[in-house]
């Protein structure tokens, strides 16, 4: 029947975010941390001790977003030194750039590190094959959300495809479980050249809580080059969108 459909349509209204560059997240959102050194660093030392993924070092003072799970407990333990902002623009082409220091006012994307052929070949259409290797389904759901009715990242030609043969690159989520290591390798090798690798989520960037687990096998990271590092637990859809748009030179942070 048509009437119930009209009702749904009317209530649904217009959900599309017209300008993805103008998105601001709620103040509660924990994105890029801001660090402040103080004379007494004992709170930072305590925070570093409790940090579940050893993302914080007190001397020299730094916080590695590639390890951080954004639980925010350090900001509660050391409120004078650590604060989380709602800045979701935290992806980078450089793993080192995820290391936040007291001088850091924004995450440097390092556009100069993007291989020239990436924006040239994929700037108008980028098809990605996602591989979950021990991901907890939250990053996966956020990647699904990038294509939904709200974010509609497909408007820039960025989409996820079913076959690696149709893909231009692989998006890895999860710490890379040993039982998935071979499948991930096969998938990567099935993507035709030239191709790129995006690691999505702090667990994929560093192994997260499972960095030392015997069930995890991260040799993939030693063998292949990573083009884009996207921290988060899970990575917010806007972090993914911002990172990929920068990589494709569709925007500069």
């Amino acid at each position: 029947m048509i009437f119930p459909k009209i009702k749904v349509l009317k209530s649904h209204g217009w959900q599309y975010i017209p300008d993805l560059n103008a998105v601001e997240l709620t103040d509660e959102f924990r994105g890029r941390p801001v660090l402040t050194s103080t004379e007494d660093m004992s709170d930072v030392e305590a925070a570093a001790k409790m940090c579940p993924t050893k993302a914080i070092t007190a001397a020299p003072f730094s916080l590695d977003m590639g390890r951080c799970l954004f639980c925010g407990e350090c900001a509660i333990r050391a409120p004078k030194n650590i604060r989380f902002t709602n800045d979701y623009k935290i992806g980078s082409t450089s793993r080192e750039a995820l290391m936040v220091t007291p001088q850091c006012e924004a995450i440097d994307f390092h556009p100069e590190l993007v291989r020239e052929q990436i924006p040239a070949l994929f700037g108008r259409a980028l098809k990605l094959r996602q591989v979950s290797a021990g991901g907890d389904a939250s990053v996966e759901m956020e990647l699904n959300a990038t294509g939904n009715v709200n974010f509609d990242f497909g408007r820039y030609g960025v989409e996820f495809v079913a076959s690696p043969r149709h893909a231009d690159g692989v998006v890895i989520t999860g710490p890379i479980s040993g039982n998935m290591a071979e499948a991930l390798d096969i998938c990567y090798n099935s993507v035709p050249d030239p191709k790129l690798v995006i690691v999505c989520g702090s667990e994929a960037c560093s192994g997260g809580l499972f960095a030392d687990s015997k069930a995890v096998d991260r040799r993939f990271m030693e063998r292949y080059n990573v083009d884009l590092w996207l921290p988060g637990a899970p990575t917010h859809p806007m972090t993914f969108i911002d990172g990929v748009m920068n990589m494709l030179k569709l925007k500069t942070r």
């Binding site: 029947m1 649904h12 996966e140 990647l143 710490p175 479980s177 998938c187 667990e203």
Partner: protein, 503 residues
């Protein structure tokens, strides 16, 4: 009496109070007792204890709200075969398979001793994902279809092997373990309770609130600091928000798979609104950071409670319009109805839990049978059930539970008076040589966490059970004799967790 009787709200139990009996006594008791549908086993696991292997069983009496604990032991290297309970009650297959895989315990006359998840600490290292022999059927007119471990979408990995006769599925075998990260082992390899909390949140990201609540409740029982009633109200609101978000997401996913785009996009938008409500409360769309042992960092303020009530009311209104549209669309009903049926008796036999079990008419709902949080106190829970056990029933379960959750949230927050909520406590000493468990009804179903402490009060064993552990077999049964093209909607109607199963 071979059981120690307790309940879901009681505190931790000293290990010495849990009877250690002969396996024969347990076998004989469970053989009879489990024929009564009011009883089911929530957990059954083994753990090394000095030179012995100690087995614990958490048995639930759904009628009397009782939790019954018992145990037995054997020498670590003792080579005796235990008569298999799975042979009589197939619901126990996951537990016996896990014990066999980890400790090489032999279960006599067990119908199918299939590896459960190929964990890194399995006894037989020669048994791997790659050399696993799938069940096969010979026949000139049959063919096999292999799907996975990587699927055609942004979804977790698992391997599905179909044996098909033409377009019809004769048999589906599901092999899991690809997501194994060593979660239970990580719980015991650290004393950092914040780290353990985050591990709990990551057991299954779509059930972060449920698993974190199960962990927090387990720890609170062990340290004897029961959370105050306002904190339990907040947790109940968070749990019901999670249930709403995931049921709405699955309504959208089912809509997508039958090309019902209107329902898909409307549900996507409503899920976004639900998880953004959670984000506005705690800073994370999945509720990570919200649930902490003994307190909260994100207590509900009057403003946030008002924001949640307003959003939930709108979501409820718009979602009910989607439900009306589904019910009045014959093209959708013809896809969903009489597809992927799991009859009640079958669901009962394999030990199905949660909303999938209730869709088949099985009474299984921890909120009702073993109340916790605000259930059974502030909320008089009415457990929704369907009877047909098909895709439509599972969809209707979701539709009804979303509206029910919205009502519960409204009911709880309408009378909510914010008070001072304590801060989380990551240091409180745990009772030594004790066992604590926590049972709760996540959106998928029954979650059970069990912790055992050693003489110093450190967690020596931590066991996690996600409802998916039981329900994967239900999916395999649902697709039998269906067209293989109906597999996606059967799969989405369950939406089971891979990482929650593989741990």
């Amino acid at each position: 009496m071979i059981y120690h009787i307790t309940d879901n709200r009681a505190s931790a139990v000293a290990l010495k109070d849990i009877p250690e009996v002969d396996y024969a006594a347990i076998y004989n008791d469970l053989k009879e007792r489990l024929c009564d549908e009011h009883y089911h086993v929530a957990h059954y696991f083994a753990t090394p204890e000095s030179s012995r292997l100690k087995f614990y069983i958490v048995l639930l009496d759904d009628k009397e709200q009782r939790v019954m604990l018992t145990s037995f032991a054997m020498e670590y290297y003792e080579e005796v075969a235990l008569p298999s309970l799975t042979a009589i009650h197939p619901a126990l297959h996951v537990f016996e398979r896990e014990i066999a895989e980890l400790y090489n315990v032999e279960f006599d006359s067990m119908p199918w001793n299939k590896p459960l998840r190929f964990p890194f600490n399995r006894r037989n290292r020669n048994s791997t994902m790659d050399n696993y022999p799938f069940y096969s059927i010979d026949g000139d007119s049959l063919h096999e279809v292999n799907v996975g471990p990587i699927h055609a979408g942004i979804i977790e990995p698992g391997a599905f092997r179909f044996v098909c006769n033409g377009e019809n599925v004769l048999h589906l075998e599901i092999a899991l373990g690809y997501q194994h990260r060593g979660v239970e082992h990580e719980f015991t390899s650290t004393d950092n309770r914040l780290r353990q909390t985050l591990l709990a949140e990551g057991i299954a990201g779509d059930s972060a609130v449920s698993h974190a609540t199960a962990y927090a409740a387990t720890i609170e029982k062990l340290c004897g600091k029961s959370a105050d009633s306002n904190l339990w109200v907040e947790r109940t609101v968070a749990l019901e928000l999670e249930r709403m978000a995931m049921h709405i997401a699955d309504t959208g996913a089912l809509s997508m798979d039958v090309a019902y785009q209107l329902g898909q996009v409307a549900s996507e938008a409503l899920r976004t609104m639900t998880i953004n409500t959670t984000q506005a409360w705690c800073g994370n769309r999945f509720g990570k950071g919200l649930i902490r042992p003994c307190g909260s960092n994100k207590p509900l303020t009057a403003e946030k409670a008002a924001m949640i009530r307003e959003n939930v009311s709108e979501i409820r209104h718009r979602y009910s319009e989607v439900v009306d549209d589904i019910k009045s669309s014959p093209t959708l009903l013809s896809r969903f109805e009489q597809c992927g049926i799991v009859p009640k008796a079958e669901m009962q036999r394999i030990g199905g839990v949660g909303m999938a079990a209730r869709a088949s008419g099985v009474k299984r709902d921890i909120r009702l049978s073993h109340p916790y949080a605000a259930y059974g106190s502030q909320i008089e829970h009415n457990s929704i059930r369907q009877s047909d056990g098909d895709v439509m029933s599972r969809l209707m379960m979701r539709c009804s539970e979303v509206l029910q959750s919205a009502d519960y949230i409204e009911q709880l927050l309408a009378s909510y008076k914010p008070t001072e909520i304590s801060r989380p406590d990551y240091e409180a000493a745990l009772a030594p040589e004790s066992l604590a468990f926590s049972l709760l009804e996540g959106w998928r179903g029954e979650i059970c966490h069990v912790a055992i402490t050693d003489a110093e009060g450190k967690i020596a064993t931590y066991k996690v059970k996600d409802p998916s552990l039981h329900n994967w077999l239900a999916l395999a049964i649902a697709v039998r004799s269906e067209g293989i093209s109906d597999f996606p909607i059967c799969n989405k109607s369950f939406n089971l967790s891979y990482c929650g199963h593989d741990l």
